[in-house]
């Protein structure tokens, strides 16, 4: 169905090709997953299928890409529109019209289908994707999962033979991701659609793949094979595979179910062990090392909470975003805020940093009322890295950004740069923040926020768009910060991250706190939020591969 013959793509002005020697064939009706670290050209491969690379992006494509027998060299994206449906990373920039129903019809209108056919297919697609109740809704009022479903639906209505998806579940909460994946599953099974998809969150998708294309590094030859074979050597892999590698299982299990069936001996070996209370202990133990030399007040007895919300309620645009939320964060504690898209996680973070004024109740961070405090004073009490770290960056070089951060925080010149050097040694001074990778940009924003040395650090969706390596680096950085006494509150959909880092998990639903307790208890209690290792080794209390590894080595 899709055929790449010796394809290399070189973008204009680039010294090396973005992808090289791609030679693969995707048969009809398969779900193929493209995996690899950040920046290896996954999006380039996906774009080449729909003809957007190079017709839209520029650059030179050598070799030949054919889709359903059509050569993308001679067919422009619009002439492939009836065989390829492409959904990019950000569904919002995909929408042309403003209501759900019109959006589903748009592609068919462009192709000139007959009105009765259009009507039928819109109704079918509304049912297939569970959007019937939302048909007249304005797209901007939908939740993230709903928008993603509308975006998929909008390319499905012309009945394309091939569906190309770039990170369809990265921004979604676990339940919404399941919804989207269930839809894809149905398309592959019932309609025989060929699906080509890139995704960083492998733990969500790898079990659905028929084949996996691995792009091991920039400019390296891609390799395609059965998921278990590819995962055995892949530099990026989900926890279930990592555990399988650790335990030496062969063939590698890809699903929690397969792993559980093989896990009996492992469970036996781990019997009686308990996870090292490594991170939780850091709170009480004296900080071993001070990375940022923050002067920490050692009060005897109970430490003063760095943030406290009491029956906090927030109303936004006539919507009750938060109701009666109580939250106390003590120094050195890492709290994960979880819950589905739109549950009020970002609003709670916004209230803690003064972006959102409470409509009733009180919120205090570091003894100050955040929305009444001057921004210049507030940065010394609390720092937030927003969902899109780019929002924090204004300057056109890394050095200028750091200098501005020192000025904003009234810190010694060079503070921010020194911090950045420790967090991210490789970054050059004269780079433009826009040219950094997602992970690097996040770290830069983190360094900017940390320049003012806030005792409370807030992170909104920090792992979105990060590959496993970048995530591991971020985890290590946050661990060190927590060990130094920084309190960290992060809103995340990433259950693995929460399991790895958080001492406490706070679960939000429709603006209310529905669970608040030690992460091991909260995440294991709810299947949607349980990490894979916990599911495999239940009822034993292991949460991460690192814990298991440590226990086996003991």
């Amino acid at each position: 169905m899709i055929r790449f013959e010796n394809v290399s793509v070189t973008y204009d002005g680039a010294a090396r090709p973005a992808v090289r020697d791609v030679d693969l064939e995707v048969p009809e009706g398969e779900l193929v997953l493209v995996v690899g670290p950040s920046g290896v050209g996954k999006s380039t491969v996906l774009g080449a299928v729909g003809g957007l690379v190079p017709h839209f992006t520029g650059g030179t494509l050598r070799g030949r890409v054919t889709v359903a027998g059509r050569d993308t060299r001679t067919h422009k994206p619009r002439e492939l529109a009836d065989v390829v449906g492409t959904v990019g990373q950000d569904p919002l920039s995909h929408f042309v019209t403003d209501t759900v129903e019109d959006e589903l019809a748009y592609g068919m209108e462009s192709l000139g289908l007959a009105p009765d056919v259009m009507r039928r297919r819109v109704e079918e697609t509304l049912d297939l994707l569970g959007l019937a109740d939302l048909r007249d809704r304005h797209i901007s009022t939908l939740s993230g999962g709903q928008q993603q479903r509308v975006a998929i639906g909008s390319v499905l209505t012309p009945h394309p033979k091939v569906l190309v998806l770039d990170e369809p579940t990265s921004a979604l909460d676990p339940a919404a991701a399941e919804e989207v994946l269930a839809v894809l599953q149905r398309l592959v099974h019932d309609l025989g659609t060929t699906v080509l998809m890139a995704e960083h969150r492998l733990e969500r998708v790898v079990q659905y793949a028929d084949q996996v294309v691995l792009l091991p590094g920039p400019g390296e030859r891609p390799w395609m094979g059965a998921p278990a074979d590819v995962m055995a050597v892949s530099p990026v892999c989900p926890p279930v595979v990592e555990l399988g590698r650790l335990a030496g299982w062969s063939p590698l299990p890809l699903t929690v179910r397969d792993a559980r069936r093989r896990a009996a001996p492992l469970r036996e070996r781990l019997e009686g062990g308990r996870p090292e209370p490594d991170t939780a202990a850091a709170r009480t133990a004296a900080p071993a090392r001070r990375l940022f030399g923050r002067a920490k007040k050692e009060n005897a007895g109970v430490p003063e909470p760095v943030a406290q919300a009491r029956s906090l309620a927030v109303r936004r645009d006539r919507v009750q975003a938060l109701t009666r939320v109580d939250l106390t964060v003590s120094p050195g504690e890492t709290v994960a805020l979880m819950g589905r898209n739109g549950a009020g996680k970002s609003t709670l973070l916004g209230a803690l940093v003064g972006l959102v004024a409470p409509s009733s109740g009180s919120v205090r961070t570091g003894g100050a009322v955040p929305h009444r405090t001057r921004p210049r004073d507030l940065v010394r009490k609390v720092g937030l890295v927003p969902q899109e770290p780019r929002d924090l960056l204004y300057a056109d070089t890394v050095a200028a950004e750091c200098a501005a951060a020192d000025r904003d925080a009234e810190a010694e010149p060079g503070t921010c740069r020194a911090l950045l050097g420790e967090l991210l040694p490789s970054v050059a001074d004269d780079m433009h923040p826009r040219d950094l990778s997602e992970g690097q940009r996040l770290t830069l924003a983190l360094a900017v926020v940390l320049t003012a040395r806030p005792p409370l650090l807030l992170l909104d969706e920090p792992t979105r768009g990060l590959d496993y390596a970048a995530k591991a680096r971020l985890t290590a950085i946050l661990r060190r910060l927590a060990a130094e006494g920084h309190a960290i509150v992060m809103a995340t959909h990433d259950v693995e991250l929460a399991a790895e880092l958080a001492h406490r998990v706070v679960l939000l639903a429709e603006g209310e706190v529905i669970a608040d307790g030690p992460s091991a208890e909260v995440v294991v209690a709810s299947p949607a939020f349980a990490p894979q290792v916990a599911k495999i080794l239940a009822p034993q209390p292991w949460l991460t591969v690192a814990q298991v590894k440590e226990a086996l080595e003991r």
Binding site: G50, L52, H55, F56, R78, L80, A81, D82, G88, L92, S93, H94, V96, T97, E101, D102, G107, S110, L111, G112, L113, P115, M118, V122, G130, D133, D136, R137, T141, G144, A175, E178, E179, D317, V319, A321, N341, G342, S346, G350, V353, G354, L355, P375, V379, L384, R390, Y394, A404, A405, D408, A452, D460, E461, L507, A509, I514, S526, P527, A528
Partner: protein, 393 residues
């Protein structure tokens, strides 16, 4: 799908149906299709036309009330519909500005009722004819008020059209040959709300850096990132549109293509010549026929040009009896006021010199009330659903 919704969210306190959904088993009544957007625009523009025919403040206030009432009861629950408030504010600003100018710069209306006298600023010779400060007369103020009220009413009518039927819905009804132009306008129209959202987000982010998030400086500093973001979004939207088949064209024979070009060009020339003829005294005889012929030829060109577009239309808004009624009610208001203006100009343009209180002329007022018809013949908008805005993506 709702089934999987529930099973897919175990562990949470309660299952959640899709927002705004009635409990399972209750059938959702399909609302009748909305009125053709063209009808709303015709109605509102006709009311606007009527407003330009009079300076009677009572009639103008009645017009504003009529359009405001219809908007209040018939505006759909979409983000677009909220633009009405912005238009009302704009109209108020026009009113205030016009009065302020009349006070500061004086008014050409000779008046005898002096309300108060501002200190007059002496101006040099070259600025002759301009006055700063000086006497402020009741006549001058009344004249300015009537004049501004007329413009305000016109603006509010346009706002009503915007609120009742978003321009993008109207553009969907354009003929095929103009479709691509229509899409360009629609994209431009959605650009502005996105831009405003971006500015808000980035200004909030300034606070996180410890900079003040208010004031003009903040706005200037976020300008560049906002424009960058907007540009990136436009490029990815263009890519998405291309990938979804925007701009596909059908093969048409060369003869048809040439005929289209000739008809359109000739038609436009004809329209120009005809208009010129109509406007000059000499061309009174040939003006109208040439204009009509040009118009016909241009329309034929458009129709023929539509054959190049392969596009079809999904559920076009039907132009039904209600649409006729709505547009006719607007047209009737405009026509009756024009008629009243020629029969009895005094009541529609109350004099300011000598100053007299305006009276409400009875039958033009009754004519304006005809504009209320849409409030009764069109379907009520759907009940408001939870317009919950998702703060996260």
């Amino acid at each position: 799908m709702r089934e999987t919704d529930r099973s897919g969210r175990p562990g949470l306190a309660r299952p959640r149906p899709e927002r705004g959904t009635p409990p399972a088993g209750v059938p959702v009544p399909r609302p009748r299709r909305a009125l053709h957007p063209g009808a709303w625009w015709l109605w509102a523009l006709a009311l606007g036309t009527a407003a330009t025919r009079t300076t009677n403040p009572l009639l103008l206030a009645l017009l504003i009330t009529v359009s405001g009432y219809v908007v209040a009861v018939r505006r759909p629950h979409t983000p677009w519909a909220r633009s009405y408030g912005a238009f009302v504010k704009l109209a108020a600003a026009v009113l205030v500005l016009r009065l302020a100018f009349a006070i500061v710069l004086g008014s050409p209306i000779p008046g005898t009722h002096i309300l108060f006298t501002l200190p007059e600023v002496p101006l040099p010779d070259w600025a002759q004819g301009i006055r700063l400060g000086g006497r402020v007369t009741a006549e001058g103020l009344a004249f300015a008020l009537y004049d501004a009220l007329r413009l305000a009413a016109l603006l509010i009518c346009v706002g009503a059209a915007n609120a009742l039927a978003s321009p993008s819905r109207l553009l969907k009804s354009l003929p095929g040959a103009l479709y691509e132009l229509g899409v360009a306008v629609v994209v431009a129209l959605t650009f502005a709300p996105h831009l405003i959202a971006d500015v808000r987000r980035l200004r909030a982010a300034r606070r996180l850096r410890g900079r003040p998030d208010k004031g003009v400086r903040g706005l200037v500093q976020v300008g560049l990132p906002v424009l960058e973001g907007a540009l990136e979004r436009s490029v990815s939207l263009a890519a998405a549109m291309d990938a979804r088949g925007y701009g596909r064209t059908a093969e048409v024979p060369t003869a048809v293509r040439r005929t289209t070009a000739a008809l359109t060009l000739g038609g436009l020339l004809g329209v120009c010549a005809g208009t010129y003829g109509l406007l000059t005294a000499a061309g009174g005889s040939y003006g109208l026929p040439v204009l009509l012929a040009g118009l016909a030829s241009a329309l034929a060109g458009l129709w023929l040009g539509g054959r190049r577009s392969v596009r079809t239309r999904y559920r076009p808004d039907p132009w039904d009896a209600r649409a006729w009624l709505v547009s006719a009610s607007g047209a009737a208001v405009a026509a009756l006021l024009i008629l009243a203006g020629s029969l009895d100009p005094g009541s529609l343009d109350p004099g300011v010199v000598p100053l007299e209180p305006p009276t409400l002329p009875l039958w033009p007022a009754a004519a304006v009330l005809l504009g209320l018809l849409p409030a009764f013949v069109t379907p009520a908008p759907e009940a408001a659903r939870d317009p919950r805005k998702e703060p996260t993506t």
